[in-house]
């Protein structure tokens, strides 16, 4: 009997088939639970659909109404933009500060890292309920501490003036741990030789931070910025549980508005249009980030 000819191409094809078989379950899951709903949502955005009747084709009317007659779309987008700006930039600065401290040789630094990471792994609802108690104007710890120093704390979640600021503070705290870990990894990757060389040249700590640390961790900073904007723009559960969007819509973020449109007002078509609008905005912001990143992000050249 003639021996079967084994070719390199044949072996590669067999390996490829095996690989596809292994990733098939995940691939199917992505197809069914992510790709299909995304495509269906685009279709739904072009219909008038209340979930209990069949969808009715209306073309781009939902999108036109969003920008011309919808009472809350731009207002909610603006609230979300303020929330995103208020959360992302300060949390990056604060987490970089703490990561720098944790990058020193201090005792119990592993314990500190674990403590800072706890909010990241804690259930969102529990965090929101906790902050509800912290913000309670009469019984909460925050106002109690302010009273000790003679300051009358505001109704943090009760007024339109303070509600958004309050949820921003909570969101910064909740996201710090994740960003600290990312920044810490970036800081630890900076070669020590640069610091040693700059020390010889007489650079102080601030100069080292500005001229060595910041440029060399700029790729990490860029990653944190982009993912921070994308994630924060889509925030929902933390604020939903804490304020429900109130008072008077002062903390209504765009995903909360989308949720209300879909399941409270039964306007799934409009909700889908909002979802795609948010997608366009996020993609636009991400593209802008990439464009401007050329000016301040320095990647280490490989030689």
């Amino acid at each position: 009997m003639a021996a079967k000819t084994v070719t390199l191409k044949g072996m590669r094809r067999r390996e490829e088939r095996t690989a596809w078989l292994f990733i098939a379950p995940v691939f199917l899951g992505i197809l069914v639970f992510q790709v299909y709903p995304t495509i269906f949502s685009l279709y739904a955005s072009l219909t008038s659909w209340d979930l209990i009747s069949a969808p009715r084709w209306v073309g781009i009317r939902n999108y036109v109404n969003l920008v011309t007659t919808d009472r809350f779309f731009f207002k909610t987008m603006w609230t979300t933009a303020r929330y995103t700006l208020g959360v992302v930039l300060p949390s990056m600065a604060i987490s970089l500060f703490f990561a720098s401290l944790l990058n020193q040789s201090i005792r119990f630094k592993h314990l500190y890292r674990a403590i800072y990471f706890v909010p990241v792994v804690a259930p969102t609802v529990a965090l929101a309920l906790l902050w509800g108690w912290l913000y309670e104007p009469n019984f909460g710890i925050i106002n109690a501490a302010l009273r000790v120093v003679g300051i009358k704390g505001p109704a943090w979640l009760g007024t339109t003036q303070w509600a958004l600021r309050s949820v921003i503070i909570m969101a910064i705290w909740a996201g710090l741990g994740f960003q600290i870990v990312i920044f810490l990894a970036g800081l630890q990757a900076v070669p020590q030789e640069y610091y040693e060389a700059s020390a010889i040249d007489g650079a102080n700590s601030l100069q080292k931070f500005r001229h060595i640390t910041l440029p060399l961790i700029s790729p990490v900073t860029f990653f944190v910025l982009v993912t921070g904007i994308i994630g924060t723009f889509q925030d929902f559960s933390l604020v939903w549980v804490l304020t429900g969007g109130g008072p008077a819509g002062a903390t209504q973020l765009i995903v909360m508005y989308l949720y209300g449109l879909a399941f409270r007002l039964q306007r799934m078509g409009v909700a889908s249009a909002v979802a795609y609008s948010v997608f366009v905005v996020i993609v636009g912001l991400t593209i802008l980030n990439f464009v401007f990143s050329k000016r301040w992000v320095f990647y280490e050249e490989t030689t």
Partner: protein, 462 residues
């Protein structure tokens, strides 16, 4: 030939197996084919009696939201119905959060429950979309005693096709109410005693509330006379109607949120916080019930709170009739009713109707009372037994309020939630920030008129 399986072959087989399992899990199930038995002898053209193939049990799905001890009580009651119907297997679905999202999703997916807890605010859009089973013929056929129920409760599940609001006389019934939830006026006896103020009486007016509130309030100790009336409670009609105001005109074409009588009622509420300073400031009520924690001496809230208030041990409390308007002498409590309805997609109409009657008829509602289900019945005679219980001493006042002064809750019209979500932010902002309430109501009325016009356009186009 070697019988050993190589590592590569083993991995290939495992990959094929995993892919096959994933495909099997993702494959859509074949839709069950409805079985049709000859129609039962009934004059109702839409009623069909169906039977499962012999030997198979009929599967009925009952669905409800749940709270406190409700689920345990319901399971007992439905299980006892199921014992009397051994050919039916009842799957009970109790959803603690976001119930209506789940129901809407089930309807969209073509798998609604057979019998479900109903909602007066959703009755009209659901009936209009044709997903609810009309039951007037069934009520007539089986002589269900809707005439013994509170009229305002029944009205919430009655709709005349083509009308913008529910409740029209002669309309089709799409559900049966199970309870009558009014608003109670509760007071903390200890805070009244400490301030040396007499307890509320049936003759109390809004002015008496303010007078007592001023005597009781100690803001520096976080003790307040009254909790401000919740915006939802106002929008249901409480305090608005006694003042002669309303949310909208009778034909639902014009907002009356800025009508002088409505403004008077809203301003009275706003004044509790910002003028008289006898109600806690905003943001101070989120984490605890201010009445139960002894923070406020008086509260107007739903009758369902009685079961929680009954656990109060720190102070004595009671309820009185709602205070009257000082000039008109009127008082009003809104009545809203949960209940039951049947989804039209049910394959087993008679069994669903049988279960629904079991839950909604006088005997069924008595079972709720016996099981400790606390929302009192919409059959006043059955409800009396629950209202006779203590605490509080004068629990019966809540029933008196319903029988004498109740009105159907005022948000059952088409697109109510869209309208309300649009016009309430200025009012909420005025209460949150202490800004001009009259200006806020004027702005709210403008928005309300615009939204009503859109709602009518949508209604007429559909």
């Amino acid at each position: 030939m070697s019988t050993q399986v190589s590592r590569r072959r083993f991995l290939k087989l495992a990959g094929v197996g995993a892919a096959g399992a994933a495909l099997a899990a993702c494959a859509p199930q074949a839709a069950p084919q409805p079985t049709q038995a000859p129609a039962a002898a009934t004059s109702a053209p839409e009623v069909q009696a169906t039977a499962a193939p012999s030997g198979e049990k009929k599967k009925l799905i009952f669905s409800s939201y749940t709270w406190s001890g409700y689920e345990a009580a319901m399971r007992n009651i439905i299980d006892s119905w199921a014992k009397e119907h051994p050919d039916v297997d009842v799957e009970q679905q109790y959803i603690a959060e976001d119930y209506w999202t789940k129901v809407q999703t089930q309807v969209a997916g073509g798998t609604p429950p057979d019998v479900g807890i109903s909602d007066y605010g959703r009755m009209l859009p659901y009936a209009k979309s044709g997903i609810l089973l009309p039951i007037s013929e069934l009520i007539k056929r089986d002589k269900f005693p809707t005439d013994q129920m509170l009229p305002d409760a029944v009205a919430q599940y009655r709709w005349v096709k083509g009308e913008f609001d529910s409740g029209g006389e002669g309309g089709e019934m799409y559900g049966l109410p199970s309870d009558a939830q009014d608003q109670i006026f509760a007071y903390n006896k200890k805070m009244f005693d400490e301030a040396n103020v007499k307890y509320p009486t049936d003759d109390w007016t809004w002015d008496d509330v303010v007078t007592a509130g001023k005597a009781i309030t100690k803001a520096d100790q976080n003790k307040w006379g009254i909790q401000r009336i919740d915006l939802w409670i106002m929008t249901k009609g409480n305090f608005l109607f006694p003042a002669g105001g309303a949310n909208h005109s009778a034909d639902l074409k014009k907002s009356l949120v800025d009508d002088p009588a409505s403004v008077e009622a809203w301003k009275w509420n706003w004044d509790l916080i910002y003028t008289h300073k006898i109600a806690p400031p905003p943001g101070a009520q989120a984490q605890t019930n201010p009445f139960m924690s002894g923070q406020v001496a008086m509260v107007v809230d739903g009758v369902w709170w009685i079961s929680d208030f009954a656990n109060i041990t720190d102070f004595g409390w009671d309820i009185a009739l709602q205070p009257k308007h000082p000039k008109t002498g009127k008082r009003t409590t809104s009545v809203e009713s949960d209940g039951w309805w049947i989804f039209k997609a049910t394959k087993y109409v008679d069994d669903s109707w049988s279960l629904m009657q079991y839950l909604a008829n006088p005997a069924g509602q008595k079972r709720f009372g016996d099981a400790g289900y606390v929302i009192p019945s919409c059959f006043p005679d059955i409800g009396k037994e629950w209202y006779s219980k203590k605490p509080p001493e004068n629990r019966m006042k809540a029933l008196d309020n319903i029988v004498q002064d109740s009105v159907k809750v005022d948000y059952t019209y088409f697109e109510f939630f869209t309208c309300f979500d649009a016009y309430r932010p200025p009012i909420e902002a005025a209460f949150a920030d202490g800004t001009d309430i009259e200006k806020a109501l004027a702005e709210a009325a403008t928005i309300h008129n615009e939204e009503l016009a859109k709602a009518w356009d949508k209604f007429n186009a559909s």
